[in-house]
Symmetry: C2
Subunit: 308 residues, 2 copies
């Protein structure tokens, strides 16, 4: 590294671990991505896992670290209690928890919770949400964060008012690799395409009010009767699930949608929002989470950044 | 056995194998249930598997056998082509395929297929359908056959006009045992209850037009925030999925529903149809498939029943 890092930022989830060293302006100096999610880290120890990755990036021993994600859950390193909605997002920053058992200054950002008739929780997405809001200077609207458990947040006067979770990504993985549909999709699971006519047709079906549960087996039947090829099957499954998600979210929440996504997900959801006729803007998911983490870090240690 | 059997009847599916020896009136003399479904039988050989189970029940070497289910699929013993809907159910009887490679007279009943914009297939349920129709002397209405892949058939003037498939049972098993919800349900997966308030509440939610995809994660959140216990979680998941199935079917097909189900499934779907306000009648699923198989057997070999 040519520049001395100011902070280390980490998004530490159930199945993956990401770490960035940034300068005092939030510019990324180096990054590390690994499979050291919660399960892997629990066995080895959270402190040992973090220190080993920090050492691998050449981080100084006194570099402060801010973490978001499942590392702050009951099954994680130290529990960072949820902040209930409606919530000012500054509240998640003042609710960070300090790890007391180590010398290095490490803080974990709390998640958001929603109680009442539609109980819900998030961990990690609240930081991405903060980053997206700051990037686009948003006060009102809908923020959609697709993924394993897609989150849709309603923002009112700069506060997170309510949110919903859709099991879209997890259901896609289970259906494509473990259900009867695995015979139709197989290795093509990663190749669902926003440009495939099956993707668009499935979206339109979901937006017309049909229920996804009654359309899934049709993928199998279309393979048996009409030789539907694997990429078509994957695109159709993706369209049915993303379509069901957007149809449900559209019925619940109104306003301009800011889509927070990266890579293939950005392409699929962008096209789906277009077919749904939903006006939307776009923020890169990786940049959003780093921005949220950096804002947290520079709020906690305003003058301690080593490059300042 | 005190009476000489007239026929052997078998429902041979992907994961299970059932065999009954019946007399000339269709009365069951002995039965065998095993896990010798398609995958297990392919390795050992279909003829060897069948003969071993027949021998175990003391069946004579010339006892004729009629089979329904996935044994007649491309991955099965011998392919019995689908009969397309709209179909007179007598057509499936005249479409049976004889196994030519063995001495014993063994016939496989074909499935039903639906082509066009809603491609669909069934194998095994067509025989259950035939049995249910004959049991209740039905000409018109809806026949619901819940299971791994639930089938809903519209019967018009005694013919199967169209049908739908819902992946309800398969999705329940995947979500309860392999998704994030496994932490909330665990061993309680088999104990979803039609009398649990979570079952009824979930049904009402689905009948109000909500989408299942946006409600699944709420089970996890309710455990974290409100200590929802495992049986409540299982009942809620069951209510969401069965509710989504019935809501979709209700929107598509009208008429009195005949529910073809056994055991726990009969209790859950019976209660769900009641909450949906759908008038329904009931046929035992095991009896229906045996009746369909027996009608096929006595049609193919009218005077050859050994007890006649």
């Amino acid at each position: 590294m040519s520049t001395v890092p100011a902070y280390a930022l980490s998004d530490w989830g159930t199945s993956r671990f990401r770490l960035w060293l940034v300068d005092g302006n939030g510019q990324v100096l180096v990054e590390k991505r690994s499979e050291d999610g919660l399960d892997a880290s629990r066995a080895r120890g959270f402190a040992a896992t973090l220190e080993s990755h920090l050492a691998g990036l050449g981080a100084p021993a006194d570099l402060p670290v801010v973490i978001c994600g499942m590392a702050g859950s009951r099954q994680g390193w130290v529990e960072a209690n949820y902040v209930p909605v409606p919530a000012d997002l500054q509240a998640i920053l003042s609710g960070t928890v300090k790890i007391e058992t180590i010398l290095r200054d490490v803080r974990i950002i709390p998640g958001l919770s929603q109680s009442g008739t539609a109980p819900n929780v998030m961990r990690g997405e609240e930081t991405q949400l903060l980053g997206a809001i700051l990037t686009k200077n948003l006060s009102n609207g809908i923020i959609a964060m697709p993924g394993t458990h897609s989150k849709w947040v309603e923002l009112v006067d700069g506060r997170a008012k309510s949110f919903s979770t859709y099991l879209t990504g997890e259901l896609y993985a289970l259906l494509a690799s473990q259900s009867i549909l695995r015979h139709s999709i197989g290795e093509a699971a990663a190749f669902a395409s926003p440009d495939h006519p099956q993707f668009t047709a499935a979206l339109r079906l979901m937006f017309s009010g049909e229920r996804m549960l009654g359309e899934l087996f049709g993928i199998r039947a279309a393979m048996l009767l009409d030789n539907l090829p694997p990429v078509g099957a994957a695109s159709r499954l993706s369209g049915l699930l993303i379509g069901a998600e957007i149809a449900a979210a559209k019925a619940r929440q109104n306003g301009k949608v800011t889509l927070v996504a990266s890579g293939a997900m950005a392409g699929l959801y962008g096209r789906a929002l277009e077919v749904a006729g939903l006006d939307h803007d776009f923020v890169d998911a990786d940049e959003a989470v780093r921005k949220g983490l950096f804002v947290a870090a520079s709020g906690i240690w305003p003058s301690e950044g080593r490059s300042k």
